[in-house]
Subunit: 241 residues, 4 copies
Amino acid sequence: MSAPLRVTVWNEFRHERSNPKVAAIYPDGIHEALAAALRAAGHEVRTATLDEPEHGLGGDVLGASDVLLWWGHKAHAEVSDEVVQRVHARVLEGMGLIALHSAHFSKIFKRLMGTSCDLKWRVADERERLWVVAPGHPIAEGLPERIELVREEMYGEHFDIPPPEELVLVSWFQGGEVFRSGCCFRRGAGRIFYFRPGHETYPTYHEPLIQRVIQNAVRWAAPVDAAAPRRGRSDALERIG
Amino acid sequence: MSAPLRVTVWNEFRHERSNPKVAAIYPDGIHEALAAALRAAGHEVRTATLDEPEHGLGGDVLGASDVLLWWGHKAHAEVSDEVVQRVHARVLEGMGLIALHSAHFSKIFKRLMGTSCDLKWRVADERERLWVVAPGHPIAEGLPERIELVREEMYGEHFDIPPPEELVLVSWFQGGEVFRSGCCFRRGAGRIFYFRPGHETYPTYHEPLIQRVIQNAVRWAAPVDAAAPRRGRSDALERIG
Amino acid sequence: MSAPLRVTVWNEFRHERSNPKVAAIYPDGIHEALAAALRAAGHEVRTATLDEPEHGLGGDVLGASDVLLWWGHKAHAEVSDEVVQRVHARVLEGMGLIALHSAHFSKIFKRLMGTSCDLKWRVADERERLWVVAPGHPIAEGLPERIELVREEMYGEHFDIPPPEELVLVSWFQGGEVFRSGCCFRRGAGRIFYFRPGHETYPTYHEPLIQRVIQNAVRWAAPVDAAAPRRGRSDALERIG
Amino acid sequence: MSAPLRVTVWNEFRHERSNPKVAAIYPDGIHEALAAALRAAGHEVRTATLDEPEHGLGGDVLGASDVLLWWGHKAHAEVSDEVVQRVHARVLEGMGLIALHSAHFSKIFKRLMGTSCDLKWRVADERERLWVVAPGHPIAEGLPERIELVREEMYGEHFDIPPPEELVLVSWFQGGEVFRSGCCFRRGAGRIFYFRPGHETYPTYHEPLIQRVIQNAVRWAAPVDAAAPRRGRSDALERIG
């Protein structure tokens, strides 16, 4: 058993309050479903949502977070640039970031990736199979060779991200598409995992294997205890000339 | 002999007009030294500089550029966000980008990388050796196993970039540091090469082997002729349910 | 138009002589179908097959090959270790290698990969869709966003290869699997492309888009003209102590 | 504090018995110096050496090893192919492998890499600086930005390995060379770390920071608890046709 991490789950928390179908699945919000799974894994978890002051990420919340989860969808534009800047700096400093589903279009993910992060999509109650393509990866720990989701939204290629440093999961969709669904990136001292599933109208985050991937990803993305590299003007270590 | 490419060389062009030492090395500006080497390689080359209207990148200059070279140093902040946005979109569309030396801190490079792009530096007339670590790479074509520069500025690790998809050159510096000096990235349909050498007070861009790397990089970064991927809402290709 | 390359197409050439169904599709052998497509692209192409002396790879055939294509299936064990050793050395020296379909289990591919190269498979006349996941890659030049094959053999994950340096194509199969179908590797000074489609009982290599991928891959895998790196005992370049 | 791992340290153990200079540095052999550092980190450590029956790797030693360290130099050819085959299979199954210094030329490392693994070298009592180029990587945990070794053997590029999936450390040498000194690879379900320092005539493995890298690497290379992927003939999951 590894040491507990300080995890912050951020959620837009709008669909759950306006769409009864979503509220029925996530009565306390997607953030609470995610937080419960991470508390069960032994972590210290807090939540933060868009409509709180500073989106719940004020004070030293970020400084006291080892890993941040991000779920957003229809209100990306409402996230303040100042908070995005703060999250960005904290990721480069070492905080892990787990970008979930439609967070592919969040300001923070796009800023870290440097690309459009655009993709194909379709909501048609179709089957998704996530195949493990990196069986020895820590994020695949405890997984079978594939995860089946009976109904999910489709995301299809081309997904406009930088080539992932490690590709852990590839999705098959009933309607004919594939998608790189579990993607690892390093930026600065921070690690980032993009994980595809989780459309708000499906009970995806209640699935034990989906929770397992997220628990694994949090553990994988935990900061490493090391001095920040020094940069800027530097004296020579050896004699020159 | 491959087909000629449409290359645009962008230069800040300030040091050359204010510092006699730089003007002595590059009397027509760094851009003209680079352009001459690329014209010699058979390309159609134009130049653009900071103080031209729209920094010389107005109209359809970018649309008519296969590859853009970028040299900037002390006036990164003066580059307009609108032009940066236009270059960014064009790279994702397929235009190659060669970021030279202090362009590591340019707005466009930082935006494409998503990181701070910070590093160590020192101007101390010291020897640099660039070692080829990917001998079969197109950017290494025609090179010996290392390139020696008698005097250059030092850049040292940690260089805060995403892990390069391909690492072609690693520098050794006399004062004791190393640096990832030739780094390949793909973003959208575009290819990006970061190439370290080229401090304005040294005649680096007159060195034939440095010119050769840049010629190779331009060829490597040329756009691929392919349809842009379709994204957004998509119909199923197979029957669902 | 780039310079023509010297290409050797190697084929096991057993199915075509024993199975009338295969002979009907490839009357002159798979190698001749592949050779025709590469001649049409302007290359100098020769062929070599298992039952020729030294498998057709004697004398200086390899030394005079820029790129080697390899198709084998049921007789991998009959390929002599000496020839494998010769091909291996030539790839490290810079010759490109295109491993096609069941060549995933060839001695040469397994030796270059260092892994089992095992996978799932099924012959069930099912639809395959190859999606481009790297739209700016030279191997994707001229392709639409996906290639459809009405009937092919299925190959499924986990495919036990090292993580590809560049992943260009991912396949969707009607029966429910995905597969990393277009994979780039660098070994020594040589470049290797694994390309999945091509079961002998389907006319896959007559498909123009499949031919296009192979033409692109041959161009991509062409050797770079550069001095071989020196290795072994080396004198210091700088004074020590 | 994470769970202890079962670690096996393999050493050729010849230099220590024939060269008094080496014996003075490692009186109980390099393996015991490494084992002590790993026991101090809480692991269950056993050792194995070339001249034991089956090189100390008989019975279920490998099956009971989570991570294997390998140090060899002048007797690579004496390692039996059968043992190499057994280690290879076990790495693909998930066992971690830490290849130390001259193990770059060991049969097992070359087999896993698929390349010549050749490099430049020089024994000249020169200074080495290992710079961290991936500050957020678990293998860099607790390290300063560089490690200094006052005297070591030089290894120089080009190092003929596949491009590392993750590059953690790059060495600077006083005599003018650079080297990729800390390299991560995944093969099958196993993880491999190549770590450069450790020439037998220098007390390198007594250095606390070098021990720290090895402790970190062992932790990083630990197997992931997951079902082995099924391969071979597979039934369809969805209806075809």
